[in-house]
Amino acid sequence: MRPDRIAEHHFKAMGTTCSVFVEGAAEATLHRAEAQVRGLAARLTRFDPRSELSRFNAAAGGWVAVSPELETLLRESLRAFEMSAGLVNVAVLPAMVAIGYTRTLAAGPTQASASSARSAPQLPDVLQIAIGRARLAPGVGIDLGGIAKGWMADRMCERLGGNALVNLGGDLRARGAGPDGAGWPVGLGGSTVMLDDHAAATSSVLRRRWGEGLHHVIDPRTGWPAASGLAEVSVVTRTAIDAEIVAKAALIAGPELAPAFCAAHAEAWWLRPS
């Protein structure tokens, strides 16, 4: 039973469940947060050809004016690539499409396809960013996926005040002392951890599957779904976007490299072998 002063709101967006918890928030504040998530998600999805991201992908080869939000996310994508030594690479979109991830899984089962795969190009070689504009090399497409969700969770939580938690489909960010002054209790790897100014995320090959060996976590080195020996990685970091990057990189890196990588970048981690 949470104290009455914690207002909470749950909704479906981006094909997943989103939750917002805020101390002392009015209902209108929670609905405004939902509207902001929906607005950003509509601009950053690859599944709608009218979205800003889809138009950016479609214009590959030429310079395109981009919004401040998309520009920020493109810069974050380059940072993710560097931080993960290339294991988190948003340029995996052609590989995702090649193996059948062609529409949201919420829209029904995706046609399984394992006939072809292609490794992703090195992101810094194919993405150029200037102030207010950006350019993808011809034939390249990007999927902002979890990076966008993590970034949105960070942004939303910072806007909601000093004691709030935002969970966008498992990419979550917490601020403040939580419902009872001891932090926000969050389920992670079968345990509960208390988060104050922390974030957390799980990257898993056990969900979002559409065929034998086909799932949404792509190893950019091969273009195939990752099969590293790890099935699931959960981490706690300081920001949700970093949690997303660290969890995914560790999952793709596998059990030999993941512990050291998590120790370098996370404050808590849970590694589940395949």
Partner: protein
């Protein structure tokens, strides 16, 4: 006669030793690693800056 028995015993012992060696070598080669075995148990590693608790979580990192 005694020489023949001794020879047979020696030959049998040698054959048994060789057979055991071959079978053991084959077994070890085939069982260097069990691919289906978990590499290690899933363990939550927590730095001092994060606390664990028995409190019921308000949410989790598992997407639905």
């Amino acid at each position: 006669m005694i020489d023949l028995r001794s020879l047979l015993l020696k030959a049998g012992a040698t054959a048994l030793t060789l057979a055991t060696t071959v079978v053991a070598a084959n077994y070890v080669t085939a069982h260097l690693k069990n691919p289906a075995a978990p590499l290690h148990p899933a363990v939550l590693t927590v730095a001092p800056s994060v606390r664990q608790s028995d409190v019921k979580p308000v949410t989790s990192t598992y997407a639905s």
